[in-house]
Symmetry: C2
Subunit: 277 residues, 2 copies
Amino acid sequence: MADPIKTRLYVDSPLADGQSVGLDHERAHFLRHVLRLDRGDPVAVFNGRDGEWRAVIDGFGKGWCSLTVTEQRRGQDTTPDLWLLFAPLKKGRIDFVAEKATEMGVSRLWPVFTRRTDPNRVNLDRLRANAVEAAEQCERLSVPEMGEPMPLERALAGWPDGRTLYLCAEAGSARPIAEVLRDARQTGVAGPAALLVGPEGGFDQSELDEIAKLPFVVPVGLGPRILRADTAVVAALACWQSLAGDWTAGGSDRRPPFRAPTFPSAGQSPAGEPALD
Amino acid sequence: MADPIKTRLYVDSPLADGQSVGLDHERAHFLRHVLRLDRGDPVAVFNGRDGEWRAVIDGFGKGWCSLTVTEQRRGQDTTPDLWLLFAPLKKGRIDFVAEKATEMGVSRLWPVFTRRTDPNRVNLDRLRANAVEAAEQCERLSVPEMGEPMPLERALAGWPDGRTLYLCAEAGSARPIAEVLRDARQTGVAGPAALLVGPEGGFDQSELDEIAKLPFVVPVGLGPRILRADTAVVAALACWQSLAGDWTAGGSDRRPPFRAPTFPSAGQSPAGEPALD
């Protein structure tokens, strides 16, 4: 990596040597009046496709800022193919989930409504804004895509072949998560994965029984204490990344043992799949 | 477990059949005016020593409430002997750390000041209140003890024999945490443990080098992304619990593979320091 640059920005534009990038009003204001940056100051930019680039500020105008991209700092890496399905939580807790799940490297954040989900809608723009901010801060080269919020039943009805859904069960009979992931790895059935974390207060019992019966679902246990939903999200992601994801090989330079397909560009609709975004 | 009781309270008093327990003003107000409980209603109580008991409300007075303990619901269990040393964070983030670390089963929460720690004091009462509330909600039978806040250097200078300190290093050269914990278990050097998570913005480099050289310190890597301090806390605790703690055996009924001494009573002032436990 080249010189340290403190400001990292996620942008939509293509990134290449000499490319111009325009920033919207909010970003322009942030750079100019919060960070007090000026013409000629460097920033780092990434778009989820072209790696990370150095760019310099060309100038500010009324409600805009333009940058010129100068050199690549890092090539695009891959992020493990890991989805997080979660029941929306109250504001504050859901912001937290978006932030933490992004830091923990999920490739898709997918809000699903369970029978007992308390909030019955979700602000996807806000979720995405939190994910973008977290990606900028944690040195990620991508932003998780957002799955279209829908009832859990519908998400499961259109479940894609070959993707295992690990159901984070409440304290109880499920096998410990580390044991399950170790076995999956040893028996070579590892592949694209998803984690499902239920609502505060837990799943409805009959709903839980129905989910657990699905052929692509594997219940996993997260210990003897009752975890809050937001705690369970971080904890389950940490277990997955450390045992099966990109924490296993000492960094992003080595290939994770699970299949890690090229990460779809944030905002770009992935092929197939209950068409999200 | 007996009949479901929604309200769980941590108390200081001894718990035994027929024992009377008084609650302070705040608790009395909460039971009466927030939960709208009345004389004769059942609650569950625990004190970190005597397991969990059913109790019934005898009555309310001006600023107090009294309970009578009736029967034991669960015997006292053990919690893995795991400390968390962390650099105090801003309000909000530190509340979060207390809540999450309690849910994740730490036996001691120990705020330590690193060279770059931003807040230079910590509100131990607030930290403890958050831990108590989390313990009540997550079905724990104990509250983590609070280590006396002190400079990290001093904490390390008096480090007890036989306790491994896992240093959560920022993205870099440390071995992946899952690998380190697996080896520790296989080679039988597992024992009392502690995790150290640095401040937002990371350790000072020379400080980090000095810590890493200590004989009881083992650096562990938490993947290629830069985690916020509060994320690192939950993530590292999840890895430890799932690989070496009480998530490994499917619940609290089985003995964890690491030494799990009788958990010291919460609220009891730890003698000396670092001679704690």
